[in-house]
């Protein structure tokens, strides 16, 4: 258990936290203007919106560097504005959600396919007669099923006048059922899978794909991937992550105080690092995790693409809500170990995503140790490659879907091993 006895309760005005997230969105928009002209960005955005979006659709390939960065910047600002508008306190889970939207806006999320799902969640809050801010997390994470909207609207060759109506209807229905389902599925993996909505969206996507298949509407995964942008992406994001560390360091009285305490946290839900250890050290952790994620891809010779950038940004977001070097590196090692031994391409986009997003299982490494984390990563690499077809790539958080099964399977096994060891210890002590 983490000891926070000596931690000063540093108080920040909420707008300062919001300001930093807004600045990220503005930064991405400014960067987009360095890559492309406004005209090219608009064309890129049009292509992004008109694409079906199912896994893996790299927006850098579809809409160019400018279009992808602009799309991500706009969605980051809009998500932050939505959270601010409800009057919610910006905590670890909400930062994780906003960064996840920011990351996935590089491959699968756009304004067109996110609106109906958010609207569905809003309608559910009205139905439940509770405030919308209580459902911000499923509203933001829920756009994982954006490709369902995009696929129905633009993937089946239905006339636009009809297809958009049905796409939005499907999105609203999905948004409406996500909150109760995501709450229920939390118990399935007991909070050991950080991308809980990913597991939920996988289940919903599986049903949606099955229904579409009944009407002869086949949905299949795709592989639209950009390449050759490593240096550009690396400069943009290393600068951003180093700046996070510097700002965090300054706000933390020019120290890394409390980081040791943060690293002791298992990361299991609910580990809101902001409320536990303060915003400054959380910001430092976010920057460090971003550097680890980016360096990992570059060191193994992988490509920084829309999806891998999305993976890195998601890790950065969850560095405010459960992830830190100690509980994520074992997972990365486990996935990497599996890719050396299996028959898949070790540098394919899906393999790289399995490593980055496999860190959804960080709490397993946090609670059961390094070996358990490596084993979980290994299992994840095996399973994640075989569950995408169930939802036809319509669930962007495919790794969260796989992670739910891995956590639900491994946790009881690890628990039984631990209790057996303890029983033996007690037995021999009595002898």
């Amino acid at each position: 258990m983490t000891n926070v006895k000596n931690i000063k309760n540093v108080k920040y005005k909420i707008p300062e936290k919001y300001l930093l997230v807004y600045l990220l969105g503005i930064y991405l928009i400014i960067v987009s203007l360095f890559f492309d002209s406004p005209k090219d960005i608009l064309n890129g955005l049009k292509n992004i919106i008109l694409s079906p979006d199912n896994l893996i659709t790299d927006y850098v390939k579809v809409g160019g560097m400018g279009g992808a960065y602009f799309n991500s910047g706009v969605l980051t600002i809009l998500s932050t504005f939505l959270v601010r508008k409800t009057g919610a306190t910006l905590n670890g889970p909400l930062i994780a959600a906003i960064f996840t939207v920011c990351g996935f806006s590089f491959f699968g999320k756009n304004i067109f396919n996110s609106i109906p799902i958010t609207l569905g969640v809003y309608l559910y809050s009205k139905f439940e007669k509770t405030e919308f801010k209580n459902y911000l997390l499923p509203a933001l994470f829920g756009s994982a099923l954006g490709p369902l909207v995009g696929e129905i609207a633009f993937g089946f060759g239905i006339p636009l006048s009809k297809s958009i109506f049905f796409a939005y209807l499907a999105g609203i229905i999905v948004g409406f059922v996500l909150p109760p389902l995501s709450q229920a599925f939390l118990r399935f993996h007991q909070g050991f899978n950080l991308y809980n909505v990913g597991f939920t969206a996988g289940m919903v996507g599986m049903f949606a794909t099955a229904v579409l298949k009944m009407f002869d509407m086949e949905v299949e995964t795709v592989n639209i991937i950009s390449s050759g942008n490593n240096i550009k992406h690396a400069i943009v994001f290393y600068f951003c992550f180093i700046l996070m560390i510097i700002i965090g360091f300054i706000l933390n009285n020019k120290s890394f105080k409390n980081y040791k305490e943060l690293l002791k946290n298992t990361g299991q839900l609910m580990a809101d690092f902001i409320s536990l250890y303060g915003f400054p050290i959380t910001l430092i952790n976010m920057g460090i995790m971003g550097i680890i994620g980016t360096t990992f891809i570059l060191i193994i010779g992988g490509d920084l693409t829309g999806p891998t950038v999305g993976g890195i940004l998601t890790i950065v977001g969850f560095a405010a809500f459960g992830k830190h070097p100690k509980n994520t590196i074992p997972i990365l090692i486990g996935v990497r170990l599996a890719t050396f031994l299996n028959t898949y391409d070790s540098l394919s986009a899906s393999t790289l995503l399995a490593a980055l997003f496999g860190t959804t299982l960080a709490p397993i490494a946090g609670k059961y140790g390094v070996s358990a984390g490596i084993f979980a990563g290994f299992c994840h690499a095996a399973l994640v490659a075989n569950v995408g077809y169930l939802h036809g790539g319509m669930n962007l958080y495919n790794n969260g879907f796989s992670g739910g099964f891995i956590a639900a399977t491994l946790v009881p096994i690890f628990d039984s091993i631990i209790s057996a060891i303890e029983r033996r210890k007690r037995y021999y002590e009595k002898q």
Binding site: K5, T89, T130, K133, G191, A271, L276, K367
Partner: protein, 114 residues
């Protein structure tokens, strides 16, 4: 009692019970009181071990209630030994206190009804 209050009361009670058993507390007494405007939970029991996370729990339990979290994550509260309850409990009660003296561990929490 409103159904939502009943659900939350059960979850908090389970969570407190899990916490006490996990910390070797014996002879536990729990008192749950639900009014129209608030839920009060008082628990006490004997143990010769002072919980090492007493200060952390005291700090968390008095933090502001967070509606964005409780609606979504409350389902995990008191669910099993594996769940990291200590963080979650703090986001679901309005005030509380946990104290250890003379081998007696006492817990108090209050939540204003929605």
């Amino acid at each position: 009692m409103k159904s939502s209050d009943a659900v939350v009361s059960k979850r908090i009670t389970n969570s407190v019970l899990n916490y006490m058993i996990e910390h070797g507390v014996e002879d536990i007494t729990i008192r749950l009181k639900v009014n129209d405007d608030k839920i009060t939970i008082i628990a006490e029991g004997n143990t010769d071990r002072k919980p090492n996370d007493l200060d952390e729990l005291n700090s968390l339990i008095n933090q502001k209630r967070i509606s964005t979290l409780e609606e979504y994550y409350s389902t995990l509260l008191g669910y099993s030994d594996n769940v990291n309850d200590i963080d979650l409990l703090g986001s679901m009660v309005d005030e509380g206190c946990i104290n250890y003296s003379d081998n007696l561990l006492t817990f108090y929490a209050m939540r204003i009804s929605n």
